[in-house]
Amino acid sequence: MSRGKLWEKLRPYVMIGPAMIGIGLFVIYPLFYLIYLSLFKFNLMNRNMSKFVGLDNYIQILGRQDFYKSLTNTVVYTAGVVILTLALSLLIAVWLSKRTRVNAIVQAGIFTPHIISIVSVSLIWLWMMEPSLGFLNYILKGLGLPTSQWLQSSKSAMMSIIIVSVWQAIGYYTLILVAALQGVSPTIYEAAALDNASKVKVFRKITLPLISPQLFFILIIMTIGSFKVFDTVKIMTGGGPNNATNTLVYYIYSYRTTNIGYAAAAGVVLMIIIGILTIIYFRLMAKKVHYQ
């Protein structure tokens, strides 16, 4: 092999080297270290006292009620947020897809929550949802409707968190869908109009398939993102009442001081779940996505 050829072979690796070092250091190494930690009853402060326990942490996780509770909560949360956000932002996007000045203003308004820190959003909703002094119950009372305990009852706490997350997310996804709708070539609609196709039919047979790549993208991003929900839970409920809003990531977080090994094992389980979800999505849904 001549020197030129060798360089030819090596060049790509040298080029991606810096990026790979970053990935190795901040993604791959921590990942292996997480798995390593999960096999120990780990003593963070005095490593000599750490005890190798094999798969004990995993056995304990799979045998514990509260883990399944937080897993179920996470699934409920994810399903609630993904379905509601997708449906609502699609609805709003269709309504806003015509380029008029009013629509631009409305769209900016709907987008605003996205640029506000989720911490502020949570704190303000926390305040509004206060059962005896809060704004929401004041309105409900004024309209003669039954009031809710919102975050303070284990029955309505999850719903309340979902409302806040959906409210915050809609604007961003509406923006993506509006762009997708405006990207559909008008000639296709003109052809459909010539054929006297009904509005419902146009939407189902033309609009939906043509924006399916964006819908698919939103679905994946949101499912994975929702599985990792943390901030709203941390600020608004602390996982309660009675674990009603304890999600996987919060579950991991709550063991940070007392049992790092167990928390790491739960982290590995979360990683596996998200990995499986992603694979399923790509395998199944990719077939149904219509690319022009």
Binding site: K9, Y13, M20, I21, G24, L25, I28, Y29, F32, Y33, K41, N43, L44, M45, N46, R47, N48, M49, Q60, Q65, D66, L126, L151, Q152, S153, S154, I235, M236, T237, G238, G240, P241, N242, N243, S254, Y255, R256, T257, T258, N259
Partner: protein, 436 residues
């Protein structure tokens, strides 16, 4: 071939990094110098001591003022105080800092976490330092030293200590012609009589307490129960029925509207506000909130012992101060600790300002504290109550068990879960944790 090469390159990279980090671990893993010799060579010039604490707000300012007084009193040692968030946050940060070899010299540790740090052998034994100091071990009030020793080592000293206490809106009780309750039965009766309802809505409650394990634990020891059994293999208060009594008592009061049990987030501030604004007549709450309430209350405000069931009893709380074994300036660090414990300008002044408990007999007998008590007898109650202080939840695994106890409290208080069943689950989890 190409694929093989890329896989090989990636593997090589990962292994290299892992190996590098592995080496690092080994050097970190060697036990740090835990020599008990307090005498150490001090470098020339001014020594800087890092001090982490959990006091923000007004109390943080009082603490900063004390640090300033120390720094100005001499020119050898400079103490830098850093606020690290709540007790829990400070503990978490301290764990990580110790692991990364960047720990401070002195740290405030919430008393229940002390055992966990002591077990990891990262706290300095303070006994040898007492030799040439202005304080003696016997000067400290016994009830507050429960968390200070571990395996015969003295690993921490009191700093900002508190106990729960009964806060009373005396005006409200007087209006109803009621006496301040001294027993559980009286408490239940008084609390129920003070309830004001409009239809189904409770407008005024009799009693409230923050969402915390502190208050149920107080009630357990008032019923002559202990949290852990003596062998530290299980909990003591469940099988003998005390736990059931405690929670049944709370549930009965909650069901009639006599007890308001607050939501878990921000519960301390919520109950303080309700009490100050006259929405609840009595409150179990820390002595640490006396100052704040006294400022806001427009009514006749009194404090009293927590009512007794079989006996008077109270757990203690608040923060201790510990020296890290990894500190390089132990002598200087002790100089500061000695100042805090013994100098009238040290913690004594801080306690006068903040309302925490004096923890040495000398402090309690000092003129500033005696004057304060004469002026505000509310603050004296807690010190007197220390006679009945007992901590039965001492164990290295307490932080983890606490997690489970909270789960039981939430299930019972928020979701009306069956008391026996919840406590059984709790016992099972605790035994598993203690068995590890």
């Amino acid at each position: 071939m190409k694929k093989f090469f890329s896989i090989f390159a990636a593997l090589f990279l990962v292994l290299g990094i892992l190996a590098a980090c592995g080496n690092e671990e080994k050097t970190e893993g060697t036990p740090k110098d835990t020599s008990k010799e307090p005498a150490q060579e001090e470098p020339e010039g001014k020594v800087t001591i890092q001090f982490w604490h959990s006091l923000g707000g007004v109390n943080g300012e009082y603490l900063d003022a004390m640090i300033k007084r120390f720094n100005e009193s001499q020119d050898k040692v400079e103490v830098v105080g850093t606020f690290q968030g709540t007790y829990d946050e400070t503990s978490t940060k301290l764990q990580q800092a110790i692991s990364a070899n960047t720990a401070p010299d002195i740290a405030m540790i919430e008393r229940a976490y002390v055992q966990m740090f002591a077990e990891a052998e990262v706290l300095e034994d303070l006994k040898p330092y007492f030799k040439d100091s202005d304080v003696k071990e016997s000067d400290f009030v016994k009830g507050l030293m429960g968390h200070s020793t571990f395996n015969k080592k003295l690993v921490s000293l009191p700093l900002n200590r508190s106990t729960p206490i009964l806060h009373v809106n005396k005006t409200m009780l007087d209006e109803a012609g009621l006496e301040v309750p001294k027993t559980w039965d009286e408490l239940k009766e008084v609390a129920n009589k003070l309830v004001v309802k409009e239809g189904n809505e409770v407008k005024r409650y009799g009693l409230t307490m923050p969402y915390d394990t502190w208050y149920p634990i107080a009630m357990i020891s008032q019923s002559k129960g202990k949290f852990f059994n003596d062998k530290k293999t299980s909990v003591d208060f469940v099988k003998n029925g005390i736990g059931k009594d405690v929670f049944q008592y709370l549930k009965d009061m909650q069901n009639t509207g006599a007890l308001f049990y607050p939501p878990q987030t921000d519960s301390g501030n919520i109950v303080n506000q309700m009490f100050s604004s006259g929405k609840v007549a009595m409150m179990f709450q820390s002595t640490g909130s006396i100052g704040g309430i006294a400022q806001q209350a427009t009514f006749d405000y009194e404090t009293a012992f927590l009512p007794k069931n079989d006996v008077y009893a109270t757990p203690t709380g608040g923060g201790n101060v510990a020296m890290l074994a990894s500190s390089e300036h132990k002598k200087a660090a002790w100089q500061f600790m000695n100042f805090m414990m013994s100098d009238p300008q040290g913690l004594q002044q801080f306690i006068v300002e903040s309302g925490y408990l004096p923890f040495t007999k000398k402090m309690a007998e000092s003129k500033p504290i005696q004057d304060l008590w004469a002026k505000e007898p509310n603050r004296k109650t807690a010190y007197e109550q220390l006679e009945y202080a007992t901590d039965t939840n001492k164990d290295t695994a307490w932080p983890e068990v606490m997690h489970e106890f909270f789960a039981a409290i939430e299930a019972i208080m928020y979701d009306n879960a069956d008391i026996d069943k919840s406590l059984d689950t709790f016992t099972k989890e605790t035994e598993r944790i203690l068995g590890q």
